[in-house]
Amino acid sequence: MSEIPSELRYTESHEWVGEVDDGIVKIGITDHAQAQLGDLVFVELPEAGDTLATGDACAVVESVKAASDVYSPVIGEVTEVNEDLADSPETLNNDPYGDGWLFAVRLDDPDSIKELMDADEYRDHIGET
Protein backbone atom coordinates (compact mmCIF):
# COMPACT_ATOMS: atom_id res chain seq x y z
CA MET A 1 0.00 0.00 0.00
CA SER A 2 1.41 3.35 -0.96
CA GLU A 3 1.21 6.49 1.08
CA ILE A 4 -1.37 9.04 -0.16
CA PRO A 5 -1.52 12.13 2.09
CA SER A 6 -5.07 13.46 2.34
CA GLU A 7 -4.09 17.14 2.15
CA LEU A 8 -2.59 16.86 -1.36
CA ARG A 9 -4.09 16.84 -4.86
CA TYR A 10 -3.18 14.29 -7.54
CA THR A 11 -3.05 13.71 -11.29
CA GLU A 12 -3.66 10.60 -13.37
CA SER A 13 0.02 10.68 -14.34
CA HIS A 14 1.03 10.37 -10.66
CA GLU A 15 2.13 13.90 -9.78
CA TRP A 16 1.08 15.43 -6.48
CA VAL A 17 0.34 19.11 -5.81
CA GLY A 18 0.47 20.66 -2.37
CA GLU A 19 -0.31 24.25 -1.38
CA VAL A 20 2.58 25.84 0.54
CA ASP A 21 1.61 29.51 0.47
CA ASP A 22 -1.00 31.77 -1.02
CA GLY A 23 -1.23 30.68 -4.64
CA ILE A 24 2.07 28.81 -4.51
CA VAL A 25 2.21 25.03 -4.79
CA LYS A 26 4.90 22.38 -4.57
CA ILE A 27 4.84 19.54 -7.07
CA GLY A 28 6.35 16.07 -6.93
CA ILE A 29 5.71 12.46 -7.84
CA THR A 30 3.65 10.11 -5.69
CA ASP A 31 4.84 7.29 -3.49
CA HIS A 32 3.13 4.91 -5.93
CA ALA A 33 5.10 6.43 -8.82
CA GLN A 34 8.47 6.19 -7.10
CA ALA A 35 7.78 2.58 -6.14
CA GLN A 36 6.92 1.71 -9.74
CA LEU A 37 10.02 3.44 -11.08
CA GLY A 38 12.43 1.92 -8.56
CA ASP A 39 15.78 3.48 -7.67
CA LEU A 40 15.89 7.03 -9.05
CA VAL A 41 19.31 8.11 -10.34
CA PHE A 42 18.79 11.29 -12.38
CA VAL A 43 16.38 14.19 -12.17
CA GLU A 44 15.99 16.94 -14.78
CA LEU A 45 14.05 19.95 -13.54
CA PRO A 46 12.58 23.09 -15.13
CA GLU A 47 14.20 26.45 -14.38
CA ALA A 48 12.86 29.12 -12.10
CA GLY A 49 10.95 31.59 -14.28
CA ASP A 50 9.69 28.98 -16.75
CA THR A 51 6.00 29.26 -17.52
CA LEU A 52 4.10 26.02 -17.51
CA ALA A 53 0.81 24.95 -19.01
CA THR A 54 -1.17 21.96 -17.84
CA GLY A 55 0.25 18.78 -19.34
CA ASP A 56 3.64 20.26 -20.29
CA ALA A 57 6.42 17.70 -19.98
CA CYS A 58 8.53 19.86 -17.70
CA ALA A 59 10.78 17.44 -15.81
CA VAL A 60 12.27 13.98 -16.21
CA VAL A 61 12.84 11.45 -13.48
CA GLU A 62 15.04 8.54 -14.46
CA SER A 63 15.49 5.32 -12.53
CA VAL A 64 17.85 2.44 -13.18
CA LYS A 65 14.89 0.87 -14.95
CA ALA A 66 13.30 3.67 -16.99
CA ALA A 67 13.03 7.39 -17.70
CA SER A 68 9.70 9.04 -17.12
CA ASP A 69 8.39 12.51 -17.98
CA VAL A 70 6.78 14.62 -15.29
CA TYR A 71 3.81 16.62 -16.57
CA SER A 72 2.81 19.94 -15.12
CA PRO A 73 -0.49 19.54 -13.29
CA VAL A 74 -1.06 23.32 -13.26
CA ILE A 75 -0.71 26.62 -15.13
CA GLY A 76 1.77 29.10 -13.70
CA GLU A 77 5.35 30.19 -13.28
CA VAL A 78 8.12 28.12 -11.70
CA THR A 79 9.37 29.95 -8.61
CA GLU A 80 11.85 27.45 -7.24
CA VAL A 81 13.31 24.03 -8.02
CA ASN A 82 14.71 21.41 -5.65
CA GLU A 83 18.42 21.67 -6.44
CA ASP A 84 19.35 19.09 -3.80
CA LEU A 85 17.96 16.31 -5.99
CA ALA A 86 20.88 16.61 -8.41
CA ASP A 87 23.23 15.14 -5.81
CA SER A 88 20.77 12.88 -4.04
CA PRO A 89 18.05 11.67 -6.41
CA GLU A 90 17.35 8.78 -4.01
CA THR A 91 15.53 11.36 -1.84
CA LEU A 92 12.68 10.93 -4.33
CA ASN A 93 12.41 7.28 -3.26
CA ASN A 94 12.84 7.91 0.43
CA ASP A 95 10.66 10.98 0.93
CA PRO A 96 8.50 11.62 -2.15
CA TYR A 97 6.11 14.04 -0.40
CA GLY A 98 8.76 15.87 1.67
CA ASP A 99 12.39 16.47 0.73
CA GLY A 100 11.74 14.77 -2.61
CA TRP A 101 9.57 17.62 -3.98
CA LEU A 102 10.53 18.67 -7.52
CA PHE A 103 9.55 22.30 -8.11
CA ALA A 104 7.28 25.08 -6.90
CA VAL A 105 4.84 27.05 -9.06
CA ARG A 106 2.93 30.34 -8.60
CA LEU A 107 -0.52 29.52 -9.92
CA ASP A 108 -2.29 31.71 -12.48
CA ASP A 109 -5.55 30.62 -10.88
CA PRO A 110 -5.22 29.47 -7.25
CA ASP A 111 -8.60 27.74 -7.38
CA SER A 112 -7.60 25.56 -10.31
CA ILE A 113 -6.07 22.81 -8.19
CA LYS A 114 -9.50 21.91 -6.84
CA GLU A 115 -10.16 20.28 -10.22
CA LEU A 116 -7.42 17.73 -9.53
CA MET A 117 -8.11 14.41 -7.83
CA ASP A 118 -8.22 14.23 -4.06
CA ALA A 119 -6.58 11.42 -2.12
CA ASP A 120 -9.59 9.09 -2.29
CA GLU A 121 -9.97 9.55 -6.02
CA TYR A 122 -6.26 8.92 -6.55
CA ARG A 123 -6.40 5.79 -4.41
CA ASP A 124 -9.18 4.52 -6.70
CA HIS A 125 -7.17 5.53 -9.74
CA ILE A 126 -4.20 3.35 -8.80
CA GLY A 127 -6.49 0.53 -7.76
CA GLU A 128 -5.71 0.58 -4.07
CA THR A 129 -8.75 0.51 -1.82
Binding site: G38, D39, V41, F42, V60, E62, V64, A67, E90
Partner: protein, 362 residues
Protein backbone atom coordinates in the same frame (compact mmCIF):
# COMPACT_ATOMS: atom_id res chain seq x y z
CA UNK B 1 0.22 -19.74 -16.64
CA UNK B 2 3.82 -19.22 -15.68
CA UNK B 3 5.84 -21.67 -13.66
CA UNK B 4 7.08 -21.30 -10.11
CA UNK B 5 10.46 -22.37 -8.81
CA UNK B 6 10.68 -24.27 -5.50
CA UNK B 7 11.61 -20.91 -3.93
CA UNK B 8 8.47 -19.02 -4.99
CA UNK B 9 7.04 -18.87 -1.46
CA UNK B 10 10.40 -17.76 -0.07
CA UNK B 11 10.47 -14.84 -2.53
CA UNK B 12 6.96 -13.73 -1.64
CA UNK B 13 7.76 -14.02 2.08
CA UNK B 14 10.85 -11.84 1.55
CA UNK B 15 8.75 -9.16 -0.18
CA UNK B 16 9.90 -10.03 -3.68
CA UNK B 17 8.09 -8.24 -6.49
CA UNK B 18 7.26 -11.13 -8.81
CA UNK B 19 7.23 -10.75 -12.58
CA UNK B 20 6.95 -13.10 -15.51
CA UNK B 21 10.37 -13.92 -16.93
CA UNK B 22 10.70 -16.45 -19.75
CA UNK B 23 7.57 -18.21 -18.51
CA UNK B 24 8.58 -18.21 -14.85
CA UNK B 25 7.40 -16.18 -11.87
CA UNK B 26 10.65 -14.60 -10.71
CA UNK B 27 11.51 -11.81 -8.25
CA UNK B 28 12.61 -8.61 -10.03
CA UNK B 29 13.60 -6.98 -6.74
CA UNK B 30 12.82 -7.24 -3.03
CA UNK B 31 13.49 -3.64 -2.02
CA UNK B 32 15.99 -1.29 -3.63
CA UNK B 33 17.69 -2.96 -6.59
CA UNK B 34 20.71 -0.69 -6.12
CA UNK B 35 21.12 -1.85 -2.52
CA UNK B 36 20.91 -5.45 -3.70
CA UNK B 37 23.56 -4.70 -6.31
CA UNK B 38 25.87 -3.10 -3.76
CA UNK B 39 25.44 -5.99 -1.33
CA UNK B 40 26.82 -8.36 -3.96
CA UNK B 41 29.79 -6.10 -4.69
CA UNK B 42 30.59 -5.46 -1.01
CA UNK B 43 29.39 -8.52 0.88
CA UNK B 44 27.24 -11.23 -0.70
CA UNK B 45 23.84 -11.78 -2.25
CA UNK B 46 21.90 -14.74 -3.56
CA UNK B 47 19.79 -15.28 -6.64
CA UNK B 48 17.26 -17.95 -7.42
CA UNK B 49 18.28 -19.14 -10.88
CA UNK B 50 16.23 -22.32 -10.81
CA UNK B 51 14.50 -21.20 -13.99
CA UNK B 52 17.66 -22.00 -15.94
CA UNK B 53 17.65 -25.25 -17.87
CA UNK B 54 19.99 -28.03 -16.77
CA UNK B 55 20.64 -30.82 -19.25
CA UNK B 56 22.73 -33.88 -18.48
CA UNK B 57 24.45 -35.49 -21.44
CA UNK B 58 25.52 -39.11 -21.09
CA UNK B 59 26.79 -41.82 -23.36
CA UNK B 60 29.87 -43.00 -25.19
CA UNK B 61 29.18 -40.36 -27.86
CA UNK B 62 28.84 -37.45 -25.38
CA UNK B 63 32.29 -36.02 -26.01
CA UNK B 64 32.01 -36.21 -29.82
CA UNK B 65 28.48 -34.80 -29.67
CA UNK B 66 29.58 -31.74 -27.69
CA UNK B 67 32.62 -31.21 -29.90
CA UNK B 68 30.20 -31.01 -32.83
CA UNK B 69 27.53 -28.98 -30.99
CA UNK B 70 29.64 -26.25 -29.37
CA UNK B 71 31.94 -23.58 -30.76
CA UNK B 72 34.27 -24.03 -27.80
CA UNK B 73 36.01 -27.38 -27.38
CA UNK B 74 35.15 -29.69 -24.48
CA UNK B 75 38.50 -31.40 -25.10
CA UNK B 76 39.80 -28.47 -23.02
CA UNK B 77 38.04 -29.69 -19.87
CA UNK B 78 38.86 -33.33 -19.40
CA UNK B 79 39.09 -33.32 -15.60
CA UNK B 80 36.09 -33.91 -13.35
CA UNK B 81 34.34 -30.67 -12.47
CA UNK B 82 36.03 -28.46 -15.06
CA UNK B 83 33.65 -26.00 -16.74
CA UNK B 84 33.66 -24.37 -20.15
CA UNK B 85 31.76 -21.34 -21.42
CA UNK B 86 30.67 -21.68 -25.04
CA UNK B 87 28.34 -20.46 -27.73
CA UNK B 88 26.07 -22.89 -29.51
CA UNK B 89 25.87 -21.79 -33.15
CA UNK B 90 23.66 -22.46 -36.13
CA UNK B 91 25.15 -23.32 -39.54
CA UNK B 92 25.44 -19.62 -40.37
CA UNK B 93 27.54 -18.94 -37.28
CA UNK B 94 24.64 -17.13 -35.55
CA UNK B 95 24.42 -17.65 -31.80
CA UNK B 96 21.57 -19.95 -30.69
CA UNK B 97 22.55 -19.65 -27.05
CA UNK B 98 25.47 -19.29 -24.68
CA UNK B 99 25.92 -21.96 -22.07
CA UNK B 100 28.22 -23.56 -19.52
CA UNK B 101 29.27 -27.20 -19.83
CA UNK B 102 30.75 -29.22 -16.95
CA UNK B 103 32.80 -32.37 -17.37
CA UNK B 104 31.43 -34.77 -14.76
CA UNK B 105 33.13 -38.01 -15.76
CA UNK B 106 34.12 -39.87 -18.88
CA UNK B 107 30.98 -39.96 -21.07
CA UNK B 108 29.10 -37.63 -18.72
CA UNK B 109 28.62 -33.88 -19.01
CA UNK B 110 26.20 -31.31 -17.67
CA UNK B 111 25.11 -28.13 -19.48
CA UNK B 112 23.21 -25.13 -18.16
CA UNK B 113 21.37 -23.13 -20.83
CA UNK B 114 19.14 -20.06 -20.72
CA UNK B 115 15.50 -20.31 -19.67
CA UNK B 116 14.33 -18.03 -22.49
CA UNK B 117 15.76 -20.35 -25.14
CA UNK B 118 14.85 -23.62 -23.42
CA UNK B 119 12.55 -25.09 -26.03
CA UNK B 120 14.58 -24.09 -29.07
CA UNK B 121 17.78 -25.32 -27.39
CA UNK B 122 16.35 -28.70 -26.40
CA UNK B 123 14.90 -29.14 -29.86
CA UNK B 124 18.22 -28.27 -31.53
CA UNK B 125 20.29 -30.40 -29.16
CA UNK B 126 18.03 -33.41 -29.55
CA UNK B 127 18.12 -33.08 -33.31
CA UNK B 128 21.91 -32.93 -33.39
CA UNK B 129 22.13 -35.81 -30.91
CA UNK B 130 20.56 -38.29 -33.33
CA UNK B 131 23.89 -38.98 -34.98
CA UNK B 132 25.59 -39.79 -31.68
CA UNK B 133 25.36 -42.44 -29.01
CA UNK B 134 24.16 -40.03 -26.38
CA UNK B 135 21.23 -39.44 -24.06
CA UNK B 136 19.97 -36.02 -23.03
CA UNK B 137 18.09 -35.62 -19.75
CA UNK B 138 16.59 -32.36 -18.61
CA UNK B 139 17.02 -32.03 -14.84
CA UNK B 140 13.80 -30.33 -13.83
CA UNK B 141 14.19 -31.89 -10.39
CA UNK B 142 17.08 -29.53 -9.60
CA UNK B 143 16.97 -26.02 -8.19
CA UNK B 144 19.85 -23.59 -8.60
CA UNK B 145 20.95 -20.82 -6.27
CA UNK B 146 23.77 -18.43 -7.15
CA UNK B 147 25.57 -17.00 -4.11
CA UNK B 148 27.83 -14.17 -5.21
CA UNK B 149 30.13 -11.64 -3.61
CA UNK B 150 33.31 -11.59 -1.53
CA UNK B 151 31.68 -13.42 1.43
CA UNK B 152 29.84 -15.98 -0.70
CA UNK B 153 32.20 -18.96 -0.85
CA UNK B 154 33.02 -19.05 2.83
CA UNK B 155 29.37 -18.88 3.86
CA UNK B 156 28.29 -21.63 1.46
CA UNK B 157 31.18 -23.89 2.45
CA UNK B 158 30.22 -23.44 6.11
CA UNK B 159 26.52 -24.12 5.67
CA UNK B 160 26.95 -27.34 3.72
CA UNK B 161 30.10 -28.28 5.66
CA UNK B 162 32.15 -28.66 2.51
CA UNK B 163 35.62 -27.18 3.09
CA UNK B 164 36.80 -28.82 -0.14
CA UNK B 165 34.73 -26.30 -2.11
CA UNK B 166 37.07 -23.53 -0.92
CA UNK B 167 39.90 -24.96 -3.01
CA UNK B 168 37.85 -24.93 -6.22
CA UNK B 169 39.42 -22.83 -8.95
CA UNK B 170 37.28 -20.49 -11.06
CA UNK B 171 35.21 -22.50 -13.54
CA UNK B 172 35.52 -25.65 -11.49
CA UNK B 173 32.78 -27.63 -9.73
CA UNK B 174 32.56 -30.43 -7.21
CA UNK B 175 29.81 -32.79 -6.09
CA UNK B 176 29.19 -32.73 -2.36
CA UNK B 177 26.44 -35.16 -1.39
CA UNK B 178 23.34 -33.90 -3.16
CA UNK B 179 24.88 -30.49 -3.83
CA UNK B 180 26.70 -29.62 -7.03
CA UNK B 181 28.85 -26.60 -6.23
CA UNK B 182 30.45 -24.60 -9.06
CA UNK B 183 32.72 -21.58 -8.76
CA UNK B 184 30.90 -19.72 -11.52
CA UNK B 185 28.47 -16.84 -11.73
CA UNK B 186 27.07 -13.93 -13.69
CA UNK B 187 27.99 -10.93 -11.56
CA UNK B 188 31.74 -10.31 -11.95
CA UNK B 189 32.24 -11.33 -8.32
CA UNK B 190 33.64 -14.47 -6.81
CA UNK B 191 31.05 -16.97 -5.63
CA UNK B 192 29.29 -20.24 -6.21
CA UNK B 193 26.38 -21.51 -8.20
CA UNK B 194 24.80 -24.38 -6.30
CA UNK B 195 22.59 -27.02 -7.88
CA UNK B 196 20.52 -29.04 -5.43
CA UNK B 197 17.31 -31.08 -5.27
CA UNK B 198 14.30 -28.77 -5.54
CA UNK B 199 12.87 -30.11 -2.28
CA UNK B 200 15.90 -28.84 -0.36
CA UNK B 201 16.09 -25.42 -1.95
CA UNK B 202 14.06 -23.47 0.60
CA UNK B 203 15.98 -24.96 3.54
CA UNK B 204 19.30 -23.94 1.97
CA UNK B 205 17.85 -20.51 1.09
CA UNK B 206 16.80 -19.97 4.71
CA UNK B 207 20.23 -21.01 5.97
CA UNK B 208 21.76 -18.44 3.63
CA UNK B 209 19.31 -15.81 4.91
CA UNK B 210 20.35 -16.58 8.48
CA UNK B 211 23.97 -16.05 7.42
CA UNK B 212 22.93 -12.56 6.24
CA UNK B 213 23.15 -13.27 2.54
CA UNK B 214 20.74 -10.81 0.91
CA UNK B 215 18.16 -12.06 -1.56
CA UNK B 216 18.66 -10.25 -4.89
CA UNK B 217 16.33 -10.07 -7.86
CA UNK B 218 16.63 -10.10 -11.62
CA UNK B 219 17.04 -6.31 -11.75
CA UNK B 220 20.24 -6.41 -9.68
CA UNK B 221 21.41 -9.46 -11.62
CA UNK B 222 21.12 -7.41 -14.79
CA UNK B 223 23.09 -4.38 -13.53
CA UNK B 224 25.76 -6.66 -12.04
CA UNK B 225 26.25 -8.68 -15.24
CA UNK B 226 26.32 -5.52 -17.32
CA UNK B 227 29.01 -3.93 -15.12
CA UNK B 228 30.88 -7.23 -15.46
CA UNK B 229 30.65 -6.94 -19.25
CA UNK B 230 28.77 -10.22 -19.56
CA UNK B 231 26.38 -10.55 -22.48
CA UNK B 232 22.70 -11.31 -22.06
CA UNK B 233 21.38 -13.69 -24.67
CA UNK B 234 18.51 -12.23 -26.70
CA UNK B 235 19.67 -8.71 -25.98
CA UNK B 236 23.42 -8.42 -26.67
CA UNK B 237 23.50 -11.38 -29.05
CA UNK B 238 21.16 -13.68 -30.90
CA UNK B 239 20.97 -15.75 -34.09
CA UNK B 240 21.75 -12.65 -36.21
CA UNK B 241 25.14 -12.09 -34.57
CA UNK B 242 28.30 -14.17 -34.53
CA UNK B 243 30.68 -14.64 -31.59
CA UNK B 244 33.20 -12.23 -33.18
CA UNK B 245 30.47 -9.59 -33.41
CA UNK B 246 29.56 -10.23 -29.78
CA UNK B 247 32.96 -9.83 -28.11
CA UNK B 248 33.07 -13.61 -27.72
CA UNK B 249 35.66 -14.53 -30.34
CA UNK B 250 37.84 -15.81 -27.48
CA UNK B 251 35.31 -18.55 -26.72
CA UNK B 252 35.57 -20.11 -30.18
CA UNK B 253 38.14 -22.90 -30.53
CA UNK B 254 39.29 -22.91 -34.16
CA UNK B 255 42.13 -25.28 -33.21
CA UNK B 256 42.37 -28.17 -33.86
CA UNK B 257 41.35 -27.31 -37.40
CA UNK B 258 39.83 -30.71 -38.08
CA UNK B 259 37.12 -30.30 -35.42
CA UNK B 260 34.02 -29.76 -37.50
CA UNK B 261 31.70 -27.90 -35.11
CA UNK B 262 28.40 -26.46 -36.30
CA UNK B 263 28.99 -22.98 -37.69
CA UNK B 264 32.70 -23.49 -38.32
CA UNK B 265 32.51 -22.91 -42.06
CA UNK B 266 30.58 -19.67 -41.61
CA UNK B 267 33.09 -18.38 -39.04
CA UNK B 268 35.99 -19.19 -41.37
CA UNK B 269 34.29 -17.25 -44.15
CA UNK B 270 33.65 -14.37 -41.76
CA UNK B 271 37.30 -14.38 -40.74
CA UNK B 272 38.60 -14.19 -44.29
CA UNK B 273 36.01 -11.58 -45.28
CA UNK B 274 36.54 -9.45 -42.18
CA UNK B 275 34.19 -8.75 -39.30
CA UNK B 276 32.10 -5.65 -39.94
CA UNK B 277 30.62 -5.07 -36.47
CA UNK B 278 31.83 -5.32 -32.92
CA UNK B 279 30.34 -5.20 -29.44
CA UNK B 280 31.93 -2.54 -27.24
CA UNK B 281 31.40 -0.93 -23.87
CA UNK B 282 30.25 2.68 -23.52
CA UNK B 283 30.62 5.04 -20.56
CA UNK B 284 28.78 8.37 -20.44
CA UNK B 285 30.12 11.23 -18.36
CA UNK B 286 26.73 12.97 -18.51
CA UNK B 287 23.21 12.24 -17.33
CA UNK B 288 20.66 10.18 -19.18
CA UNK B 289 20.81 6.42 -19.50
CA UNK B 290 21.24 4.71 -22.86
CA UNK B 291 18.62 1.99 -23.25
CA UNK B 292 18.36 -1.04 -25.52
CA UNK B 293 17.81 0.12 -29.10
CA UNK B 294 19.19 3.65 -28.71
CA UNK B 295 21.02 4.73 -31.84
CA UNK B 296 24.81 5.09 -31.66
CA UNK B 297 26.55 7.41 -34.12
CA UNK B 298 30.25 7.39 -34.95
CA UNK B 299 32.40 8.44 -37.89
CA UNK B 300 32.37 4.93 -39.32
CA UNK B 301 28.57 4.75 -39.33
CA UNK B 302 25.73 3.86 -37.02
CA UNK B 303 25.17 1.19 -34.42
CA UNK B 304 22.87 0.57 -31.50
CA UNK B 305 22.84 0.06 -27.78
CA UNK B 306 22.12 -3.57 -26.89
CA UNK B 307 22.01 -3.11 -23.09
CA UNK B 308 22.29 0.00 -20.98
CA UNK B 309 21.89 0.98 -17.38
CA UNK B 310 23.03 3.23 -14.60
CA UNK B 311 26.11 1.66 -13.04
CA UNK B 312 25.68 1.79 -9.26
CA UNK B 313 29.39 1.07 -8.74
CA UNK B 314 30.72 3.74 -11.13
CA UNK B 315 27.87 6.20 -10.63
CA UNK B 316 27.56 6.79 -14.36
CA UNK B 317 25.51 5.43 -17.26
CA UNK B 318 27.11 2.48 -19.05
CA UNK B 319 26.12 0.34 -22.00
CA UNK B 320 27.05 -2.39 -24.40
CA UNK B 321 26.63 -1.37 -28.02
CA UNK B 322 27.08 -3.02 -31.39
CA UNK B 323 28.94 -0.59 -33.64
CA UNK B 324 30.82 -0.61 -36.97
CA UNK B 325 34.20 -2.35 -36.65
CA UNK B 326 35.98 0.91 -37.53
CA UNK B 327 34.42 2.87 -34.67
CA UNK B 328 36.81 5.18 -32.83
CA UNK B 329 37.20 6.14 -29.18
CA UNK B 330 34.20 8.44 -28.92
CA UNK B 331 30.64 8.01 -30.15
CA UNK B 332 27.34 9.82 -29.68
CA UNK B 333 24.31 8.09 -28.24
CA UNK B 334 20.80 9.26 -29.06
CA UNK B 335 18.90 9.53 -25.78
CA UNK B 336 15.52 11.26 -25.86
CA UNK B 337 16.35 13.83 -28.58
CA UNK B 338 19.84 14.52 -27.22
CA UNK B 339 23.17 13.17 -28.41
CA UNK B 340 25.65 13.07 -25.54
CA UNK B 341 29.18 11.76 -26.12
CA UNK B 342 30.10 8.32 -24.88
CA UNK B 343 33.58 6.89 -24.40
CA UNK B 344 34.21 3.57 -26.09
CA UNK B 345 35.78 1.15 -23.61
CA UNK B 346 36.61 -2.50 -23.36
CA UNK B 347 34.38 -4.42 -20.94
CA UNK B 348 34.36 -5.42 -18.11
CA UNK B 349 33.52 -2.13 -16.39
CA UNK B 350 33.76 -3.63 -12.91
CA UNK B 351 35.36 -6.85 -11.74
CA UNK B 352 35.81 -8.27 -8.24
CA UNK B 353 34.46 -5.08 -6.70
CA UNK B 354 36.90 -2.83 -8.58
CA UNK B 355 36.22 -0.31 -11.30
CA UNK B 356 38.55 -1.30 -14.13
CA UNK B 357 41.36 1.03 -15.32
CA UNK B 358 40.22 3.70 -17.78
CA UNK B 359 36.52 3.21 -17.08
CA UNK B 360 35.73 5.88 -14.50
CA UNK B 361 37.08 8.86 -16.48
CA UNK B 362 37.64 12.19 -14.72
Amino acid sequence: MSRKTPLYDSHVAAGGRMVDFAGWQMPINYGSQVEEHNRVRNSAGMFDVSHMTVVDIRGTGARDFLRRLLANDVARIEQPGRALYSCMLNEKGGILDDLITYFLAEDSYRTVVNAATREADLDWMNRQAREFDVELTEREDLAMIAVQGPRAREVVAGIIDAPETLSLKPFQAVVHGEYFVARTGYTGEDGFEVLLPGGQASLFWNQLLEAEISPCGLAARDTLRLEAGLNLYGQDMDTTTTPAESNLGWTVAMEPDDRNFIGREALEAEKSGGVSRKLVGLVLDSRGIPRTGCKVVCEAGEGEVTSGTFSPTIGKPIALARVPAGCGETVQVEIRKQRPDARVVRPPFVRMGKIQPGIAGD
